[in-house]
Symmetry: C2
Subunit: 444 residues, 2 copies
């Protein structure tokens, strides 16, 4: 399927009938706690649909689950949502029963202000772990955000800013496609930076075949004006996340808060997935895959301390699961990641990581090479376990760009997988070691 | 069992009948290739017993297995050894058929010079991956080493120096115990530094229940003058390694070359393990455990860039395997390791890592605390998932020393495990990113 789409402005408010806001309410308690300090990064976001939406979601499989994730799991069981309220600066994770009451309160206060049922409000949080939410500030923020709602690209930009933590850049996108004669839009915003290797599922329960992956809070909120049934929407989101957010790693740490939500309000009257509309569903899926992959790659590029971004492409594994395991072992190896940082075409460390992965690997069959991002023109450094004659300076040149693809062929079967990874730099260590002179940077 | 032992000088030559040597033969080809350049670190070690020994060994479970490991596995099948030849500067890993021929040649040349059967010579290598061994230099080194053999502590120190790579300090120990009225000694030397999370087994095959762990070459060579049968010796070594070398991690990367060998020549006439000597076997085991744990902890303390050493002690897991998985998730988490570097008592990151481990974890049951090494006086920061009232400055003080224990109680069962880990520092990243202006630091 060749996807035809147009990139449009406005991210989450590009689809008809959606509004957004982002305000400052001093969740980190750096100032007075009033909701309007000038020049401060916004820290509370609100996304609202003028009509109830069909809702789909995926959540962290970390057994230590933040309170907002628990609330989302309860509320999304009904399949309908109309608002998403999100704060940054405090993850409301490891906060016990009070944390759960606070997350429920966030939903209730948002719903009351918008005059919707509480279970139609979804909740997200990201930031420090183990500290109670300052609920007075949150309440003031929700009140301000409801007043500030609007449907311009600036409103969406405010919401995007409000969910950022250690992100250095806002991450947003919207595309327009044609579905059954109607113009349908899909928009999204996300945040990431550290503790990034998500492994999300619909229930938060782990798929039996896959140990928990992922580490950093990543949040992604998607909107569409397509008219689509709940099961189709959930299945579409699961496929898109499996190919994007669940395929990235910055530091191999899976967060307690990872959340992806997708709201469809039918505002475009382009119906998807009904009888005879399978082609439309495929177009919708392709567009959603594109939106999620673009957002996911923005997270890797803006990961904490990241200098180089590397796509690890494994082919020829005995199965897709083994290809995934092999690619993750390479993308999470401290020695491989530091070699990427140093511009070192070090196939020995790659082969070593493959060897200790849970995938079956036969040294004498392994090919390792490099290409430009997405290119099939590969410079092989290793063929069938033996170094090629590729000049060392050419290999160095291949790993010098800030983005490149690492190709691995195990030559044992048909399994393939890609993992979007990054280097490990002194800047990552420096950022995450914290500063004990500043207790706010530490603990939780 | 309360072990009574005396620490003695001479490490691997402390047991009667063993000799050692360490020479320079320019394996890295930094000089002329002559075996006698002044002031260069020695790079070829030889350990020799005047009589044939009962031999036991454990080897990396990495599927990419270096040539010397393959040769050791073949030779140790006979159960007898009389010499170990080891080079540093080149791992002879990922070197294909030529690498295997070279490793066999090392054994053959050593055996010929010592007039022993080739299969009684064991081989070890550590250093750069993917580069053929300079066999002319190796041959000269073996010749020089055989001539240099001797039984003084200085001879053992030369061998210890010769196996070092990025190690900054030699690692050696010997103890003396009383067995059945005889004075028996156990000595050992080892090296580590980077690519350190060994997961070794007797056959190099993986135990089905345990995915491959470990990453850095670690080599350990042990000698004893106890008289002990092969099966008892192998079992004793397996227990000792399970409690020591297989419980350390510096960077989570398991090497292609990890090797532990133990040679017993019976020179003390203290027989162990025969009928009625079970008590002796327990004493021998306790002494061997002590020797291996001391050596293993030296590797962690001298790991690449390591500033702080942390023992992660997990109790109350549903099983020992789950305790091990939980402790490894914590000890290998980039975010936990950077917090150790920063002196940050960050229980949130510990809880997050526990949550994504493959061990069962219930947030509301977890206790997290700190103590001095080996102490049971724990300062708890988290009890049953909730922060305690321990003052932040006291928690900071608990994680400030260069060694401390991190205590985790899952309160779900009786499984326990300890992992000896370390912090992640800018120095580790800087060291391992290499220097592309110096190609010798890169590739393989």
């Amino acid at each position: 399927l060749k996807l035809k789409f147009t990139v449009v402005e406005g991210s989450i408010v590009a689809p008809r009938g959606f509004q957004a806001a982002g305000v400052f309410c001093d969740i980190k308690r750096i100032g007075t706690g009033k909701g309007s300090e000038k020049g401060q990064k916004r820290d509370l976001a609100l996304i609202y649909s003028e009509v109830p939406c069909v809702a789909a979601g995926l959540f962290t499989t970390n057994q230590v689950r933040a309170a907002p994730v628990t609330v989302c799991l309860r509320h999304i069981a009904g399949g309908v949502a109309q608002a998403i309220v999100v704060n940054s600066g405090n993850a409301n994770a490891c906060t016990g029963r009070k944390g759960l009451r606070d997350a429920e309160m966030m939903a209730r206060q948002t719903a009351a202000a918008l005059r919707i049922p509480p279970e139609h409000a979804m909740v997200g949080s990201t930031g420090r772990i183990g500290v109670p939410l300052p609920m007075g500030n949150v309440r003031a923020g929700i009140r301000d955000a409801v007043r500030a709602l609007g449907a311009t690209p600036e409103h969406a930009a405010h919401a995007t800013e409000a969910i950022m933590t250690s992100d250095t850049r806002p991450k947003q996108i919207a595309v327009e496609i044609n579905l059954a004669g109607a113009t349908v839009r899909i928009g999204g915003i996300c945040k990431g930076a550290g503790m990034i290797q998500p492994g999300m599922s619909a229930s938060g329960a782990r798929p039996p075949a896959r140990p928990g992956h992922g580490h950093a809070t990543m949040l992604a909120f998607l909107t569409t004006d397509a008219a689509i049934g709940r099961n189709d929407l959930q299945r579409a989101l699961e496929e898109a996340v499996a190919l994007s957010f669940n395929r990235i790693t910055v530091d191999g740490d899976m967060s307690t808060n990872d959340t992806v939500l997708l709201l469809a309000n039918g505002g475009a009257h382009g119906e998807v997935g009904r009888k005879g509309r399978r082609a439309d569903l495929r177009v919708f899926q392709a567009a959603l895959n594109h939106v999620c992959l673009e957002l996911a790659r923005m997270i890797v590029r803006d990961g904490e301390g990241v200098h180089r971004v590397v796509t690890v492409r494994v082919e020829g594994a005995r199965s897709g699961a083994e290809a995934d395991a092999a690619a993750r072992a390479v993308a999470n190896s401290a020695l491989v990641k530091t070699s990427w940082h140093g511009g070192d075409p070090n196939w020995g460390r790659v082969l070593d990581a493959l060897g200790y992965s849970t995938a079956r690997v036969v040294e004498g069959r392994v090919d390792i090479g490099y290409s430009e991002p997405g290119s099939r023109k590969v410079l092989w450094s290793l063929r069938r376990g033996q170094p090629t004659r590729a000049p060392f300076k050419d290999l160095c040149a291949a790993v010098a760009p800030v983005e490149f693809d690492l190709h691995i062929r195990l030559n044992l079967g048909g399994g393939r997988a890609a993992i979007y990874g990054a280097d490990l730099t002194e800047a990552y260590v420096d950022f995450n070691k914290g500063n004990i002179a500043d207790p706010a940077s530490l603990g939780g």
